[in-house]
């Protein structure tokens, strides 16, 4: 056996701890399961996309790109 030390956001840790507590399981089990699943599947995690607010000058450039794409 070995130890894995990871730095994570404090809020995330708190929320995860509470969620695990509700289910009556230790947080360690959640992390171990996530690692087992990753090793078994080899899949990569891709998060939820987030739309970015931009300035009018940036939007203008983006729309120019949009126009160029419409012509392709």
């Amino acid at each position: 056996m070995t130890t894995l030390t990871i730095r994570i956001d404090e809020t995330l840790k708190g929320k995860a701890f509470k969620q695990a507590e509700k289910l009556g399981i230790p947080l360690t089990l959640i992390v171990k399961n996530a690692l087992r699943n990753f090793v078994a599947s080899g899949k990569v995690v891709i998060g939820e996309p987030e739309t970015i607010k931009v300035t009018p000058s940036i939007q203008k450039k983006m729309d120019k790109i949009g126009d160029l794409l419409s012509k392709k």
Binding site: V44, E48, I52, K53, T55, D63, G66, D67
Partner: protein, 132 residues
Amino acid sequence: MKLIITDSIEKHELSALERVFSLSVIKVAAIKSLKGPGENIKNSISIPKTILRKIYITSSSGAGRAMFLLQIEAEKAILVIIRQKKDKQIGANMAVENPKFKKVLERNLDLIIRDLEVGKYKEYDLESQIAI
């Protein structure tokens, strides 16, 4: 659905990260960006033709952020920026309030315009990836 990567973005953004984020991973991220939550679009008074979406990627080789410019009607995603999370100046804070990010974003948008105008880009069909 299509993913477009222009030659300049391949050179400036992707070449250094080829071993960290494969093209397949970028394709899946592009699909998710195109299919992602539409609330922001629906709630807008005027529907923009293009939007920017940021997406988190975690692979066995490292964590990062990719940003795509989406052409909503044509369902096309153009890779604008891709950085590792450990890139503190840009990757860790992809928001227009970050001057360093804003500078790179504007530069990359200019490069994309130039590349598209002269046909220097590659287009990837994403339909075949949807089953993933």
